[in-house]
């Protein structure tokens, strides 16, 4: 064996687009170049928000950046994404979202009308989510050094319960519920960016998720973990949780809803909808006894009206996600090495 052979990808010591995909390269970036320098108990929990002790209670704190292109796409825009994304990160820790910051990086040449449209969307999205945008910042970069507009938001929420809703709380036997069909956001943005026309127009699922989460907690449902599905899609979110908990999940492929237009677009381009981005979907890990009641609550909200059980936690100690397909065969889901790339033919 020639062990001196150069390995073409792994030896590169520069940032690549794949480092932002949410897949294996993103994990490696965090594991090797970020986490070692800022380790602490809150970050180590690997959750969407940090849950922090504060004045006898607990706060949830999170941040996210939004770099979508195009800025406006069917079903949403970067402003809505920036609000909903951070609201959802807070909701996924079981917090009630309260306050957001908004930091704008504007590219020279961006039409002010465009900025106004985005900010109007942010205002509406904040009102819909019950949060206030209370602080912010603007920076301008030279033409050619940005995609028109980047937004960073940070958010603070309050935890009104004592429960730990995090990967570490996942138990064997938990049911895994999914709030709706997958892949809409990623395919809508891709179709819009690349000018791909499909018979049935694709709309992003971009939406706030704090409502159904609030009702689940209010009803006393034993929610063990929540995770919104963003870049990397359903598969990436579940693999991350399985690894973080050290647990084995088994999913039924036929139970995962995919709308016909997303399915058709994915078939055409050779993409796996399990890895396509979402912005208004989440998974819930609940105690098995609470599954019917949790579904009943989720069904009352428009954003989670199509919720269903897609699988369960089979064991703790073996970090893998197994997908049982329509023919009864099992396969392992894994993180992708980088971005999903469409096939040639």
């Amino acid at each position: 064996m020639n062990i001196d052979c150069p390995l073409p990808v792994d030896t590169e010591e520069t940032i690549r687009l794949g480092h932002g995909s949410g897949g294996e390269l993103s994990q490696k970036l965090f594991r090797d170049y970020i986490h070692p320098y800022i380790k602490n108990p809150w970050l180590d929990r690997l959750h969407d928000s940090a849950c922090l002790p504060f004045a006898g209670g607990r706060l949830a704190f999170t941040t996210d950046s939004f770099v979508v292109s195009p800025l406006f796409f069917p079903g949403g825009n970067i402003g809505e994404l920036a609000v909903y994304g951070t609201v959802n990160d807070l909701a996924m820790s079981g917090a009630r979202p309260m306050y957001l910051s908004c930091s704008l990086v504007l590219e020279e040449g961006l039409p002010l009308k465009t900025l106004a449209r985005v900010m109007a969307s942010m205002g509406r999205a904040a009102a819909q989510s019950g949060v206030q945008l209370v602080t912010g910042d603007t920076k301008v970069v030279e033409r050619g050094k940005g995609d028109g507009l980047y937004i960073n938001t940070a958010g603070v929420g309050v935890l009104e319960h004592e429960r730990a809703i995090e990967p570490g709380a996942i138990c064997a036997g938990d049911r895994i519920l999914l709030s709706g069909d997958i892949g809409r956001h990623g395919m809508a943005v891709m179709a819009s960016r690349e000018g791909l026309a499909f018979d049935t127009p694709l709309q992003s699922d971009c939406a706030p998720l704090h409502g159904p989460v609030h009702d689940l907690l209010e009803a006393g449902i034993r929610v063990h973990c929540l995770r919104d599905l963003t870049r990397g899609g359903l598969a990436t979110a579940l693999v991350e949780l399985a690894r973080a908990r050290g647990a084995s999940f088994v999913l039924q492929e036929s139970a995962v809803p995919i709308c016909a237009s997303v399915e058709g677009a994915c078939e055409l381009l050779g993409l796996d909808p399990f890895y396509v981005a979402n912005e208004g979907r989440f998974v819930v890990f609940v105690a098995p006894e609470d599954e019917p009641a949790a579904l009943d609550i989720l069904h009352r909200h428009t954003v989670s009206a199509a919720s269903r059980t897609i699988g369960q936690v089979t064991a703790v100690g073996r970090p893998d996600v197994v997908l049982t397909n329509v023919l009864g065969c099992e396969r392992l889901l894994d993180l992708l090495p980088g971005e999903q790339l469409p096939r040639i033919c």
């Binding site: 073409p8 016909a260 469409p342 096939r343």
Partner: protein, 387 residues
Amino acid sequence: MKFLHEYRQRQDIERAARVIAKITTRPWTIMEVCGGQTHAIVKYGLQQFLPSAITLVHGPGCPVCVTPLEIIDQAIAIASRSDVIFCSFGDMLRVPGSAHDLLTVKARGGDVRMVYSPLHALAIARQNPQRKVVFFAVGFETTGPANAMAAFLAREQGLRNFSLLVSQFLVPPAIAAISGATDSQVDGYLAAGHVCAVTGFESYNVLADNFKVPIVVTGFEPLDILQGILMVVRQLERGEYLVQNQYARAVARTGNQRAQDMLRQVFEVTSQTWRGVGEIPASGLRLRAPFSALDARQLFAGERSSPCDTSGCISGEIMQGRKKPIECPHFGQRCQPQHPLGAPMVSSEGPCAAYYRYRTRVITSDAINNQTNTSANNLANTSAHEY
């Protein structure tokens, strides 16, 4: 969804499998020519529905996998030039050349753009008259017509800054080369349905006659593949060697005449090197003389280099059905999607990528059958990724 779900029903798959088992009296080796079929076979675990007498082997039908290293190196060199916008289908971006890949060129500042169509590359050329726009025209008969259309339009529109780095392959000569090999084990073929949608399948009659092998034009859904196998086995058991069409919902005997006309108008048949396999006469396409001004291979002849394949990738063996991915000593070890040694681990049509992506938690029957093989033993001992 129409034409998908009705071909993925378990009861239909099992019914076809039962018929195959009933009529099979002796071992047969069947090659699925197309990488898309390989992915479907592995993804749906179709081998487990088949009798052990039926062995499926993978063919050379992944265009990314068979593109020679020399062309990939030239693509990387061209893409590295500051005066070039290099356009490619997504699949090609991660394929390792002698030193690195197109994504690395992009990360280092090269203007490498992923496109979904050669006509998109043409539009980029129109929008950037001061830059040289090169499209990586890779593929089989399926991509050829669209690539030909791009060349045709570029010439008609007088675009002087557009060119194509052509790496086009033809499937029938590859089948002839595999069948003609003295050690060929292949008893019958599942021909690639989408290739035949362009070319038709009359040209396959000569192959079936010459090599005494049944060839069944086959689609890509699980039931398509089982039906294709059934049609091949039925012929083998009867001692027949005909060309049949399982994929009649998409493929006509004479194919798509307009696409063929466009291909003939722009391209001519030439000898072609297949990565890992070698040169196969009359198995490729090159631009005809009126289009030679669009030939990036000539325009950037100075960017050619001496390819150096020290990766250890056994793509040639795998693409000719002589070995399965898990028989490669590097599979799942040194060679993974994160650090592929060769194109078959990269491409969404590559057999190694299929085996890796659709691996199961238990050791597959393939691995059990090859337990004397180092790779299989390594795989069985791999805790994080058990097969």
